[in-house]
Amino acid sequence: MIPVLLITLPIFSGLMAFFMKGQSVKSWALLSSFAVLGISIWSLFSDANLLSYSQAWLPSLGSRFDLTMQDGLSKLMCLLTALSFPLVLISTQQNSSNQSPHFFALMLLTQAGLMGVFLAADALLFYFFWELALIPVYFLCSIWGGEKRIAVTFKFFIYTFVGSILMLVGILSLYYMQDTPSFAWSSLTANASKGIYPNWAFWLFFLAFAIKMPIFPLHTWQPDAYEQSPTPVTMILSGVMVKMGLFAAIRWLLPLFPKATEQFAWVIVCCSVIGMIYASLLAIRQDDIKRLIAYSSIAHIGLMSAVIFSGNASGMGGVMIQMFHHGVNVIGLWIVANAIEQKLGTRSLSEMGGLAQKAPTLSILLVVMSLANVALPLTNAFVGEFLMFNSLFKYNVWLTAVAGISIILAAVYTLNMVQKVIYGEVNSLTEKATDTPFNVNFSLVLIAILIVVMGVYPQPLLDLTKDAVTQLFAQQ
């Protein structure tokens, strides 16, 4: 029941939005996103029988319309998806992209696709939603994006689409390898223990997920796409969409290929750790605030991917809560970046300065987001990073020491950003700046409260993901 609502509601309201006119569509989209958030919160407390839905879909292929919130990870990811859309819609009211009904329609369709990815318990359905999430984003970026949007969006689309096709090939080959072909998650994973799935199929899936995350060196689409997308879409891309790759790796890749995961973990972990340092060093060199956040995000995702493939139970719990927290925090950073761009008309850090005098509230909130970005203790990001580093340490001490350098580098690029944006003297550009409107502050304060509360008392989220972790390790 709940999974169906989470998907059909945004589809329905999205389709309706295409036919709406004027300002009413804003309220409509906001209303829809709040309804979805409400349902998602309800899912945390509801009975198990409300959490799954199964219906015949393509009987000739043995594929069913199977949606389940099978564990805390699904719940958490749905919650992230449900929470991020109201935040994005509220905080970007003033953006020029947010004036067209089509924009909101496509955004809501994206939300439906994302929900589907986190809920599908059937491989073909999973693939369907995986693509459904991508297609509206393609249009959003190529219509409302920056100057180089056509070239960049094309690259982004082709790059991730190649990954998707590889995954489809992988799904189909696994389908035929079973004694009784089925796309059901339960059947596919149950057969995994027989060791009938070949290693090359692992790579087909892995590439699709790795491009999405992204794992070094498959990341080059991301900074361009983040930079050129309209900022509301960037928020969804980095806040929620990259979690598709991480989620899929945990939900599908690990249970389907336990042997291959173990065998190839070192390659993936090494790539991830190199990516952490590499992206951090590049982040230091960025002048465009959006590109800086993009590289910072790649560095953070690197740690998560490293732990997914090498982690122990506590580390995996860390990954799961960090997927949520990273989503919230990075959206916070984007909101600040967006507010600054709206105000100053530039994203170039070298042209900024002195905002602490002109926009004190925004500055304080930027500092809070930045502290979460460097995973300071008592912010939400600390607990996840602590658990993940701890788990990586058990896997390999030296890799942890190298990966740990990213903690230092994170302080370098984040504080650089803070210094260039809010400290120093006011210049001719920032002179006219004023503090941000209520809607922006509201979203940021909400995120700031989440950051601190989850940082001081992280146990509820850890408890929520416990069943997912237990299940994962029971299978292996």
């Binding site: 740990g404 302080a411 210094q419 400290y423 120093g424 850890l462």
Partner: protein
């Protein structure tokens, strides 16, 4: 009553929230009262806790809630109140309170909302330090550990319009983070080997670990201490931290932050006693830092820089003490140093305040008449740090030095050299500031006058403490069993003392060393006063030779710039412009172009000649038949490849 322990950090936290959130609404007076009052509240509770620990002679652990509970380990949000932490609580909140009171006057020129911002940061600073000290496991300690790093960042960059100050703030945070990484790795190591980070459990189980593990843990922890307590090679942030307002320096140098490293090692004393290599390393780094920083302090002309290098040097002595097993001595020196260093910094602040932000001692002189209270208290502070009996610095430093002599006589003589330098540079500072004749410019509209009572009162209290504070640790050579502090802290250091029997010097040697060192220190003081206290002291002369190296801090900042920062800069530019753009993204675009090119070539196959089509048809059929009959072989081949 000790359940009230949560109130100790709670008061400053509430103070932080009120002054921070209400910064646009509160008057300066209200801000001052709230911020100082919150620390006073914490101090009163700390006194109660201290008296209880003193009375019962035992410590207690209070768990507030489960911070992280996960597969394999559990980290409670717990506080430990025992001899060591309750003593530190008194130092932090007591001196913190005096600094807050002082700041209400010192910062009075600031706008009301900046004034409130300042006190919000100060309260947060004390809060973080209290968490650090109160934590009952290494993770809670780490929360405070990073928290003080953050607060120092915020306070050093308090005057945020100035780019240099921001740079100094950033440098402090990043250098601290390097140390923090070491600390964090040590915690992971503990969790991996012992499955716990709680003090009690770690200390009781540590004996089961191999020497390698203990050495690794202690060395990594010490990396953290190097950052936080400004030891070689991570000390360069502390002198730059002078960019913050002067009371901040007093807070960082005396009550919070830099003593964290000492506290951590004193707390982990069992680990260090079991890892002789690490302990020796701590002693060597401490000794080297003590001497090295003292040489730099000899030639600094900024009143706060001299004091900053003096702190680095004194911290070196504390680590030397820890390294030679004189744990009580190190903690003792933390305490006396907190008294006189807070006094000296606040005194320097009073001078700077009176001279309207002049910090160059070459432009001071003869201030003893205009600033009588500041002068007397500052002089007492100088005598205390120089180590003249019976001032407090004498007892604590003597305890460390004697333990060093018992450990290794050659280390004692080097350390003694540093102590002589200390006396010299402190009295150079004193003489240039207060003796001789005034060398600055005079402004009739703003005559130099003594600071108000809210500033001089903390100076007087601290001066009294600097004079008498040493009597809680009278060495056995003067009177048996008069070392109150040693008895008080005995339970904390007992496990270490059981492991290692320290050799005690015979009284004759001790008297001899004490006598000689006191005489030499007095000579140094007289020399400094004679050289720099005269009316016509020449301060314009440029430093040459080795003095120039000292004045330029041995060019260590420049060295770091050339060896670490610059190469990293070049490397990252290389990554951005070459690797990212041309190699990785180039490869991705190359694939795209290849497909494009391939498609163009492929198009030519559609030539329209029936013969070609037939050929392709037959070839395709052959390929398909081959695959049809050999799919198993091909799958196997694929499997072998991947």
């Amino acid at each position: 009553m000790s359940q009230l322990v949560f109130l100790v950090p709670l008061f400053p936290l509430i103070g932080f929230l009120i002054t921070g959130l209400g910064r646009n609404y509160l008057s300066k007076t209200a801000t001052g009262y709230i911020a100082s009052g919150s620390i006073l509240g914490a101090f009163i509770v700390s006194c109660l806790l201290f008296s209880q620990v003193y009375g019962s002679g035992s410590g207690q652990v209070f768990t507030l809630f489960h911070f992280i509970q996960t597969e394999g380990f559990s980290i409670p949000f717990a506080f430990q109140v025992d001899q060591l932490s309750s003593l530190f609580l008194l130092i932090i909140t007591g001196i913190g309170f005096l600094i807050h009171v002082y700041s209400t006057s010192y910062m009075h020129e600031e706008d009301a909302h900046h004034f409130a911002r300042f006190f919000a940061y100060m309260n947060l600073f004390v809060f973080s330090m209290l968490l650090l000290v109160l934590g009952a496991n290494y993770v809670i300690m780490f929360i405070g550990w990073e928290g003080v790093g953050l607060c120092s960042y915020l306070l050093i960059g308090y005057w945020f319009k100035n780019g240099d100050y921001n740079y100094a703030a950033k440098k402090a945070f990043i250098m601290n983070r390097i140390g923090d990484l070491g600390f964090l790795l040590a915690v992971f190591w503990m969790l991996a080997k012992l499955g716990t980070a709680t003090y009690g459990e770690v200390f009781s189980q540590v004996a089961t670990l191999s020497t390698f593990d203990i050495t690794a843990i202690t060395m990594l922890l010490f990396v953290g201490a190097m950052g936080k307590s400004a030891q070689i090679p991570l000390y360069t942030w502390l002198p730059d931290a002078m960019a913050g307002p002067t009371p901040v320096s007093a807070l960082i140098h005396a009550a919070t932050m830099v003593t964290a490293g000492i506290y951590m090692i004193a707390r982990s004393n069992v680990l260090y006693t079991l890892a002789p290599f690490s302990q020796g390393f701590v002693a060597m780094i401490g000794l080297a830092t003590a001497i090295f920083a003292a040489t730099i302090a000899l030639r600094q002309n900024d009143i706060k820089k001299v004091l900053a290098y003096s702190t680095v040097s004194q911290l070196g002595y504390m680590f030397l003490g820890l390294g030679v097993g004189a744990y009580t001595g190190a903690v003792f020196h933390v305490m006396t140093h907190a008294f006189f260093k807070a006094l000296l910094f606040l005194g320097a602040g009073s001078v700077i305040h009176a001279l309207h932000h002049e910090q160059d001692i070459r432009k001071m002189g003869g201030l003893k008449k205009q600033l009588p209270i500041t002068h007397i208290t500052f002089l007492l502070g100088c005598i205390a740090i120089a180590g003249i009996p019976p001032f407090s610095g004498f007892f604590s430093k003597d305890e460390i030095l004697m333990a060093t002599y018992a450990h290794q006589p050659w280390m004692y003589f080097i350390a003694m050299g540093g102590a002589l330098m200390t006396a010299f540079y402190m009295f150079r500072l004193y003489s240039l500031t207060f003796l001789g004749s005034y060398r600055g410019h005079t402004d009739a509209a703003h005559p130099i006058h003594e600071s108000p009572l809210s500033m001089t009162f903390p100076l007087m209290v601290l001066a009294v403490l600097s004079v008498v504070g040493g009597f809680i640790g009278i060495p056995a050579v003067f009177a048996e069993n008069a070392h109150w502090l040693e008895h008080f802290l005995a339970p904390v250091f007992q496990p270490s003392n059981e492991l290692v029997q320290h050799t005690h010097l015979d009284h004759a040697t001790e008297y001899l060393l004490m006598g000689i060192s006191t005489v030499l220190v007095l000579i140094m003081i007289l020399l400094a006063v004679k050289l720099f206290g005269k009316d016509d002291v020449d301060v314009k002369k440029d430093d040459t030779g080795i003095k120039k190296w000292m004045a330029n801090k041995w060019y260590i900042d420049e060295l770091y710039q050339a060896v670490i920062i610059q190469p990293l800069h070049i490397f990252s530019v290389l990554l951005k412009n070459l690797v990212e753009k041309n190699i990785i993204d180039g490869a991705v675009n190359g694939v795209g172009r290849l497909v494009h090119y391939g498609a163009r070539q492929f198009r030519l196959i559609q030539s329209g000649q029936v013969g070609n089509y037939l050929l392709f048809m037959i070839l395709s059929i052959v390929v398909f038949i081959l695959i049809w009959f050999n799919d198993a072989t091909i799958l196997r081949a694929l499997n072998n490849i991947f």
